[in-house]
Amino acid sequence: MRLLNPSALLPLLVLGALAGVCAEPLVPDTLSVYDNLNSDQFTQRGELVLSDPAEYSPVGLQNPPVIKYSTVANWTTDNSMYAVLLQSHKTDAQLVLTVPRCRLNGDQAIKERFVVHAAADGGLLHVDYTAGKAANCKDAHAVPETPKFTTDVVVKRRVQGPTPELAQAPSIDLTTGKEKTPEPQKSFLVKYWYYIVPVMLLLLLGGGEEPQQEGNARR
C-alpha cells in the first residue's frame, strides 16, 4: 500500500523519460526510514541512502525520532498493515509504504526489500516495499517486538524500449536496376599497389648514387 504520490517525494523526480539508454547515476539523497511496528506512531529505525549502490543502514539511537500519525498527510490508520514511512532529507517529503502486518507474524528474522525505480537520468521514479512472508499470515504467533530486519535494496532503472532492428537495406544499381553485389574486401597492397610500386622503384633505383657522390666529394 502506498499513500503518497511518489512524485511528491522529491523535486528531483523530473521528466527523465526521454533521456537515453546510458543511465545516469542515481541522484543522491538519504531517506529516513520509520515504521509503526510497536507503537501508534512512526519510529525511525534506519536510513536508505540513494547512491550507487543504494543501501539501507539501521540507526541505533537510544531515543529515535518519531512522527505522529496525525502529522502524516493522507495517512489513515490501519492496524492490520505494517507501515514504513520514508522521509527525504532534501525536501522532507514523505512516502508511506505498507504490507499486511500478518506477514511478519512469528518471524524473528524478517526479510524486507526496497525497490527503488529510477528514471534514466537518475531521478527517483518510484519506491516499492515488501517484508515478511505470506505464509506467516497462517501463523498464530504475533509480530515479535524486536525482530531483526535483513534489508535488501534493489535499484531498477527505466530504460529505453526496444525498437525494430531492420536489416541493412540492399543497394540498388541505378543503371541496371539490380541489386549491387558487395565488392570483395581488398588488402591494402592490392588497393594501393600503383602508388607503392613507383615509390619503391624510385627508392631502389635512385638510392645507389648517393654514396658515389659522397665519395667524389671527399675526393
Binding site: 502506498r2 499513500l3 504520490n5 521528466l15 527523465g16 521514479l125 525498437t163
Partner: protein, 1044 residues
C-alpha cells in the same frame, strides 16, 4: 447364430460403420470461406437519406450515417451497392446528389469536400482544407452550383468555390470566425452563407449571421445578423427556396405566436404571419406556442416556384399537420395551406417529400408528402395535393425491440411510392402500400456495438432431455435415462439420415443456413418466431450478445449470424447507452433456471447508471424485473469473483464516486444475499481507477465489507454499496499523462507454467492476475518532445513491476495506442516517427518510421529452472519479473488487437489484428516471441522452435481471416473457446460484424476433409465379411486339431 457370428456383432459393426459416416468434425478450409464464417456489412444509422433517380427506371438511395459512412443502397433490396467509410473523426455534415454525382462535406477543423460518382462510388475529385485556428465548431456546408459542376462550401473558416480538377479554390472568402456557418443558400448569382453568430458580451443572445457573396467573383456584398434568439438548426426555423421569389427564412420565437419571414439579402421588409391565417382555425395561444416546422425538401428542383414546408400544432390536445405553400405577389407574401391531415394521421415521427423522378424542367411534377404515425405500430399515408391520401400502409413491429420511429423518407420505384422508416434503435425498413410487412430492412443497431459476450448453448442431443423435462423432469434424475434419451436422439438422426438418401438429397448447408435453421423470410428475420436455444456438439454455435450505444441489446448466433432476439432499452423514452454486457448465469443442463445477461449502461436523461437483467435465451426481462436506474453514475464496471447463491447469479461490481469524491463499490444484484456472497469471498477485492485519458495518476482501492454479520445485515437493508479504501496512488512523473490502462480480458487459464527451452530446462512464466499495463503520453507537440511511457503495475499493491519509454512515439486519434495482455505476454502497438523531434530523442531513436509492435514476455527469472519460492502467488511478495522485449514493424495500421482462446490453452494463441484496411489478420504466436535470435539460431534455439528475428511482421494473405471480406471499422476483437481444443471462435466488430473460427495449432483433433469415410466403411465391412468367412474355418480347424 449366423455362421458362428452373432447378430449383435454384425449390428454393432454396421452401426459403427454408419455412425462413422455422420458429420464428425468441422475445419476451416479455403472452400469453406463464407460458410463457417460470416460477415455483415453495415453503414450505421442514417442521418440523411437522399433518393435520387438516375433515369425513369433506375433509382438510388444515398445515405450518410452517424458512423461516418456514405452508402448507396439498392431501393429494391436495401443491400449496399457501394459504401465509403470515412475516418472516425470525420463526421459527414452534408450530402447532395445531382447529375449522377454525390457531394459530401466531412470533417471538423480539417474539412474535406469530395464528389463521388453516384453509380460506382468512385471518387471523382476532392478538396481538403487544412486545419484553421479560426474554425468555429459546427461549421460546414456544401452545395452544388446550378448549371455547373462547381461546388460552394464552408471549409474551415472560409467559404470557397471549388471546381473539378483545380487544386486551389476559384475564390476563397475568409469568414473570420464570426459564426458557425451551417447553411449555404444559392441563387443565380449570389451565395448566402448562414450561421449561428458568435455570442459577444454586447449581444450574448443567439442569432443568425448572413454573409452574402457574389457567386462569380467571390466578393462579399454584405454581412448582417437577424432572427435574434434563433439557431439555424431548430424545429422553429425553415429555409425556403424559390426560383421565382428568391430565398427565405421562416421562424417563430420561442414564446411568440407570430411567425416571421425574412428574405435573404434584404434587411427590409420582414413579414409577420399569424397562425390563424395559416391553419384557418381559431387556436388558443398555448396551442400556438407548440407549433413546429419541418423542411420537407430543400432541393429547388422539387420545390419549384412555390416552396413548401410542414407545420404541426396542437388542437384539442391532438397533433395536427398541414402542408404550407408560399406565394408572393409584389411586396405581399402569402402562405397557403395546401393539405391538412386528419388528426389520426398526425405526423409524429417524421415527414418527407419526394417526386417520382427528379425533373427540374417540370416544376409541376407530382409531389408527395408522407405522414407517419407511430404508436405501437406505424401507419403511414402519402398525400399529393389533396386531403385524401393516395397511398397508405401499416408496419407492424414492436418498439421494445427496435425503438420508436424517428424519421421517414419517401422514394419511388417504378412510379410506386416506398416509405423508409428509421427507428431510434437503428432499424431501417422499406414499406410498400398495402402491406404490413417490410419489403426489406436493414438492422444498423449493431454498428454501434460497444461490448459483447458469448453465451454457451446446450448441445442438440439434449433437446430430447428438454422435451422430457417439460413433461416429467424427474426422469432426468437418472443418468441411465439421460443416456437412453441420447441414444434415442442419435437413432433418430440416423433414421433421418437414411431417409434423406444418405445425405445426398438433404438440403445443402446454404439452403438450411449456417445457423442450422431454415432460411427465414424478411418478417421472420425481423421478428424471429422462436429464439435460438440449442447449440451444437462442438461449441461452434453460441449466442453472441451485443450491447450498443443506441440502446439495443441483441443476440446473434455465431453460426450464420441469425438473430435470436432483440431488446431496446430506454429510460423515459430515450435510448440508453450500453457500456457492458456480462453473462451472469450460464446454461446449466440440469437447471430449470434460464441463463442471464446483465447489461450495464448509462441513461441519456440523467447520466446515471442503468442496469437490466435479461433472459439470455429470449431477451425478456428476467423474473419480471425491469430497467433499473441507479442513483449514481459508474466510473468502472467489472465482474466480481462471487456468485449470489440465492439465484446463482454472478455479481457485478459498479465503482462510483459520491459528491464528496469518496469511492464506493456498488454490487449487482443489490440484494442482501448478494452482499453476503460478496463478503464471503476470502480474498478482498481490489480495483484500480483513474480519471480517464489525460489524468496524471492512477489509484488502487480495496472494497471494505462490514466487520460483522450483524453490520452486514443492517447494511443490506440500508445500503447498496461498499466503501472502498484507497490503497495506493501511482503518480505519473511530471509531463506525463495517461493514455490508457489494459488488464486481462476475463479469467485467464494457463496450460504450461513455463517455457521449455531447447536444452530441456524451463523458463517459468510470470503469471500475475493483477497485472495492469499503463500507457502514458510524454511531453506534447508544443514542447517538441514526444514519447510513450509504459508501466506495468500490480493492481493490489501499486508496485511498479516494469517500466520503459519509447522516444519519439506519439498517439493521436488516427494513430491510436493499442495493447493487449495474454498470459505472461503484453503486446502493444503505437506510431513512431522516423525523424526525432529533439536532439535528445534523436540520439536514442531508431530510424523506423511507422507502426511499431512491441512484445514483452514476463518470466519469473532470467535463469532457467528458477522460480519464486512461495507456492501461492501474492502481490505483496513483490516478485519483479524478468522482462524480455522485442519490437517489430507492424504490416499495416491496426484499429484493434485480440488473441485467440481455446478451452485449455494447450493450442498456441494467435495474435489477431483488426487492420485499418478492413482486414482481420491472424499472426502466429511464434512470430511475436521476443527471444527470437538476432543471429543464426543455435541448435537449442532451433529445437525450441525459435525462428531468427526479422523486424517486419509479414502480412501473409493466407493468414487473413476475413478472406475477401472488407470488414470496415474493426474496433473490438473477442475470442471464445469451443469444445475442440484446437479451435477458437473469433468475433470482430465495430462498424461491421465478422465471425469466424480458427485453429492456431492446426486441426489436430479433427478429421481432415481428405479422410475417406467410404474407405473406412468398406474396410469395416471387409473385416466383418472376413470374420464371417474365416470364423467357421478357424473353429473347424481348432476342432480338427482337438480330435487329432
Amino acid at each position: 447364430m449366423l455362421g458362428g457370428v452373432s447378430l449383435s456383432k454384425v449390428a454393432l459393426s454396421l452401426t459403427l460403420a454408419i455412425g462413422s459416416l455422420s458429420s464428425f468434425a468441422h475445419g476451416l478450409f479455403p472452400d469453406e470461406a463464407g460458410r463457417i464464417d460470416w460477415h455483415r456489412a453495415q453503414i450505421g444509422r442514417p442521418t440523411k437519406i437522399v433518393p435520387y433517380a438516375f433515369n425513369e427506371t433506375d433509382t438510388g438511395l444515398f445515405a450518410i450515417t452517424d458512423r461516418n459512412t456514405l452508402a448507396s443502397l439498392s431501393p429494391a433490396s436495401g443491400k449496399i451497392v457501394w459504401r465509403q467509410t470515412f475516418g472516425s473523426d470525420e463526421t459527414i455534415k452534408a450530402l447532395r446528389v445531382r447529375d449522377g454525382r454525390a457531394l459530401t462535406l466531412s470533417g471538423a477543423n480539417e474539412t474535406h469536400v469530395r464528389v463521388w460518382d453516384a453509380a460506382s462510388g468512385g471518387l471523382v475529385w476532392g478538396f481538403s482544407q487544412p486545419p484553421d485556428a479560426n474554425y468555429r465548431r459546427g461549421s460546414g456546408a456544401a452545395e452544388f452550383v446550378e448549371k455547373s459542376e462547381d461546388v460552394v462550401a464552408v471549409v474551415g473558416d472560409s467559404l470557397v468555390r471549388l471546381t473539378p480538377g483545380a487544386t486551389v479554390p476559384v475564390w476563397e472568402v475568409p469568414l473570420n470566425a464570426t459564426a458557425a456557418y451551417k447553411r449555404i443558400v444559392l441563387e443565380d448569382k449570389t451565395a448566402f452563407v448562414v450561421g449561428d453568430a458568435r455570442p459577444t458580451k454586447k449581444n450574448p443572445k443567439p442569432r443568425m449571421q448572413v454573409v452574402e457573396v457574389d457567386l462569380e467573383s467571390g466578393s462579399v456584398k454584405q454581412k448582417y445578423q437577424f432572427a435574434g434568439g434563433q439557431a439555424v438548426r431548430s424545429n422553429r426555423v425553415v429555409f425556403l427556396q424559390s426560383r421565382e421569389y428568391g430565398s427565405y427564412v421562416v421562424w417563430r420565437d420561442e414564446k411568440n405566436i407570430v411567425w416571421f419571414v425574412h428574405r435573404l439579402g434584404m434587411s427590409d421588409p420582414e413579414w409577420e404571419i399569424y397562425h390563424a391565417k395559416l391553419v384557418q382555425v381559431e387556436l388558443m395561444p398555448a396551442d400556438m406556442l407548440t407549433s413546429t416546422m419541418y423542411e420537407i425538401d430543400t432541393d429547388p428542383a422539387l420545390n419549384a416556384n412555390h416552396p413548401r414546408f410542414i407545420m404541426t400544432y396542437l388542437k384539442d390536445d391532438k397533433i395536427k399537420t398541414i402542408v404550407v405553400e408560399m406565394y408572393r405577389s409584389g411586396d405581399k407574401l402569402e402562405m397557403r395551406k395546401v393539405a391538412g391531415f386528419r388528426s389520426d394521421d398526425a405526423v409524429v415521427a417524421g415527414c418527407g417529400i419526394s417526386a417520382p423522378k427528379n425533373d427540374a424542367a417540370n416544376p409541376n411534377a407530382p409531389r408527395a408528402v408522407v405522414s407517419v404515425r407511430a404508436s405501437d405500430d406505424v401507419s403511414w399515408r402519402v398525400y399529393t395535393d389533396s386531403k385524401t391520401p393516395t397511398h397508405t400502409g401499416d408496419f407492424v413491429y414492436s418498439k421494445d425491440t427496435y425503438g420508436p420511429v424517428r424519421s421517414a423518407t419517401l422514394y419511388h420505384v417504378g412510379g410506386e411510392p416506398r416509405v423508409l422508416v428509421q427507428t431510434s434503435g437503428g432499424l431501417v425498413a422499406a414499406l410498400a402500400p398495402g402491406s404490413s410487412e417490410p419489403l426489406w430492412f436493414r438492422d444498423e443497431s449493431l454498428s454501434h456495438a460497444t461490448d459483447m459476450a458469448f453465451l454457451e448453448l446446450p448441445p442438440p442431443v439434449s433437446s430430447a432431455e428438454y422435451a422430457a423435462k417439460a413433461t416429467d423432469p424427474s426422469v432426468l434424475g437418472s443418468p441411465v435415462t439421460r443416456y437412453i434419451l441420447r441414444w434415442a436422439e442419435s437413432a433418430k438422426s440416423i433414421v433421418s439420415w437414411v431417409t434423406s438418401g444418405f445425405g445426398f438429397f438433404a438440403n445443402s448447408p446454404d439452403a438450411v443456413g449456417a445457423s442450422g435453421q431454415a432460411a427465414r423470410t424478411v418478417a421472420e428475420e425481423l421478428v424471429p418466431a422462436s429464439p435460438i436455444v440449442v447449440g451444437d456438439h462442438f461449441g461452434f454455435r453460441k449466442l453472441s450478445v451485443f450491447g450498443t450505444s443506441s440502446g439495443v441489446v441483441a443476440a446473434l448466433s455465431t453460426q450464420g449470424g441469425s438473430r435470436s432476439w432483440t431488446r431496446f432499452l430506454a429510460d423515459n423514452g430515450t435510448a440508453v447507452s450500453i457500456d457492458n454486457v456480462f453473462v451472469t448465469r450460464r446454461n446449466q443442463p440440469m437447471s430449470t433456471s434460464a441463463p442471464l445477461v446483465t447489461v450495464v449502461g448509462r441513461s441519456r436523461v440523467s447520466g446515471n447508471t442503468v442496469v437490466a437483467v435479461l433472459n439470455a435465451l429470449t431477451g425478456e426481462f428476467a423474473d419480471d424485473s425491469e430497467l433499473t436506474v441507479l442513483p449514481y453514475s459508474h466510473a468502472k464496471v467489472f465482474e466480481l469473483p462471487a456468485v449470489d447463491t440465492l439465484n446463482n447469479q454472478q455479481l457485478i461490481g459498479l465503482v462510483y464516486r459520491d459528491p464528496e469524491s469518496q469511492t464506493h463499490l456498488g454490487i449487482w444484484p443489490s440484494t442482501a444475499s448478494a452482499a453476503k456472497a460478496f463478503c464471503a469471498v476470502t480474498e478482498p477485492v481490489f480495483f484500480d481507477l483513474n480519471d480517464g485519458a489525460g489524468s496524471t495518476d492512477l489509484r488502487g482501492f480495496r472494497a471494505e465489507c462490514p466487520a460483522s454479520e450483524a453490520e452486514l445485515d443492517s447494511w443490506a437493508e440500508s445500503s447498496s454499496s461498499f466503501a472502498a479504501s484507497e490503497q495506493w496512488k501511482f503518480g505519473l512523473p511530471e509531463g506525463e499523462t495517461l493514455i490508457s490502462t489494459t488488464g486481462y480480458d476475463g479469467a485467464q487459464s494457463t496450460a504450461l507454467l513455463g517455457r521449455v527451452l531447447g536444452d530441456r530446462s524451463v523458463l517459468y512464466k510470470y503469471l500475475n492476475p493483477h497485472l495492469v499495463t499503463v500507457a502514458t503520453r510524454i511531453g506534447d507537440d508544443e514542447t517538441g518532445s514526444r514519447g510513450i511511457g509504459i508501466y506495468m503495475i500490480d493492481r493490489v499493491t501499486g508496485s511498479l513491476l516494469y517500466s520503459t519509454v519509447h522516444a519519439n512515439a506519439h498517439v493521436t486519434k488516427k494513430q491510436p495506442f493499442l495493447a493487449i495482455q495474454s498470459e505472461n505476454r503484453v503486446i502493444y502497438q503505437f506510431w513512431q516517427e522516423g525523424s526525432p523531434a529533439t536532439a535528445e530523442a534523436k540520439a536514442h531513436s531508431s530510424a523506423v518510421r511507422g507502426y511499431v509492435t512491441v512484445v514483452a514476455d514476463l518470466y519469473e527469472s532470467d535463469k532457467p529452472d528458477t522460480r519464486d519460492e512461495s507456492r501461492a502467488f501474492s502481490s505483496y511478495d513483490l516478485v519483479l519479473p524478468h522482462v524480455v522485449t522485442a519490437a517489430f514493424v507492424a504490416p499495416e495500421p491496426a484499429s484493434a488487437l485480440g488473441v485467440t482462446r481455446t478451452g485449455s490453452n494447450i493450442s498456441t494463441r494467435d495474435v489477431v489484428f483488426g487492420l485499418a484496411s478492413s482486414k482481420l489478420l491472424s499472426l502466429p504466436d511464434q512470430m511475436f516471441d521476443p527471444r527470437r535470435p538476432k543471429r543464426a539460431a543455435t541448435k537449442d534455439e532451433q529445437a525450441e522452435g525459435l525462428v531468427p528475428y526479422a523486424a517486419p511482421l509479414a502480412l501473409d494473405p493466407k493468414r487473413v481471416l476475413s478472406h475477401y471480406n472488407a470488414v470496415a471499422g474493426i474496433a473490438h476483437i473477442r475470442a471464445a473457446p469451443t469444445h475442440l481444443e484446437s479451435t477458437s471462435l473469433v468475433a470482430a466488430y465495430g462498424l461491421d460484424l465478422f465471425f469466424t473460427r480458427t485453429s492456431p495449432s492446426g486441426t489436430f483433433d479433427q478429421l481432415s476433409p481428405s479422410f475417406s469415410k467410404v474407405n473406412l466403411v468398406v474396410t469395416t465391412l471387409a473385416l466383418a465379411v472376413g470374420c464371417l468367412l474365416g470364423g467357421p474355418m478357424v473353429r473347424r480347424k481348432l476342432t480338427n486339431q482337438a480330435w487329432a
